[in-house]
Symmetry: C2
Subunit: 142 residues, 2 copies
């Protein structure tokens, strides 16, 4: 569905949401270990999220990444958007440039319904809610 970049972005954000606060920041080392993603690559991704103010960062001892209320209450679609992958949810399955009700590919109507549901999933629940649902007793196998 999504690129690695977006997958890591989502995993990192959910992890940060679950484990960080302004008092307890998380280093890129910790984060990438926890979500099993390449460290430097993940650093780049978090740089983007930081620039877009979806997460925050502070260098230095006890520095790291953390997340604040506005993003905690936002849906994960904002992370997907930040990674530039929102269009993935608008594209035609067959890759037609102009596929619409007026000029549909043979899968248009059915696929449209699924895309709508997907969008709902990504816009429905807040990041904080998802983080809470994440069970960390049974550790997830990334």
């Amino acid at each position: 569905m999504f690129s690695k970049k977006t997958e890591y972005a989502l995993r990192a954000t959910i992890y940060i949401a679950k484990h960080s606060s302004e008092e307890k920041k998380l280093s890129i080392v910790d984060i990438s270990k926890a979500i099993n993603s390449p460290q430097s690559f993940t650093a780049k991704i978090l740089q983007v999220l930081t620039k877009k103010k979806l997460i925050h960062s502070l260098p230095g001892p006890n520095g790291g990444f953390y997340i604040t209320e506005p993003t905690l209450q936002a849906p994960i679609s904002c992370i997907i958007d930040a990674m530039g992958e929102n269009e993935a949810l608008d594209k035609c399955v067959l890759g037609l440039k102009k596929c619409s009700t007026a000029n549909p590919c043979p899968l248009h109507e059915q696929y449209k319904k699924v895309k709508f549901q997907l969008k709902e999933i990504f816009e429905e629940k807040s990041i904080s809610k998802l983080a809470k649902e994440l069970k960390n007793n049974k550790s997830l196998q990334y």
Copy 2:
């Protein structure tokens, strides 16, 4: 959703299904022009489909690609499979290696439903039926 390779494979197959027969074969030039795909790249893709007997080909004058009943009656999931992209429909949204009901990512249950519907779409209608639904009066904008 899918790679270019798979998109071209689907478009080409549907096009061949609509416009070819054993008596009227289509050249790779015609096909790639019609579906607006890079010719040589599309040739490689059709080679794969041909090897897997999903379509057929014959070299020489009046040669080209054509399709026969077994594939016409098959669902497009067989094309997706041939392109090795069936797994795309099984993967976890977050890219977790082992995401299951027993050990779910926070989106597992909702996403599972959507994946099920997607699979249904790709397994439901036959290629021939899809080809018939393709309106070619209003030319599709590939």
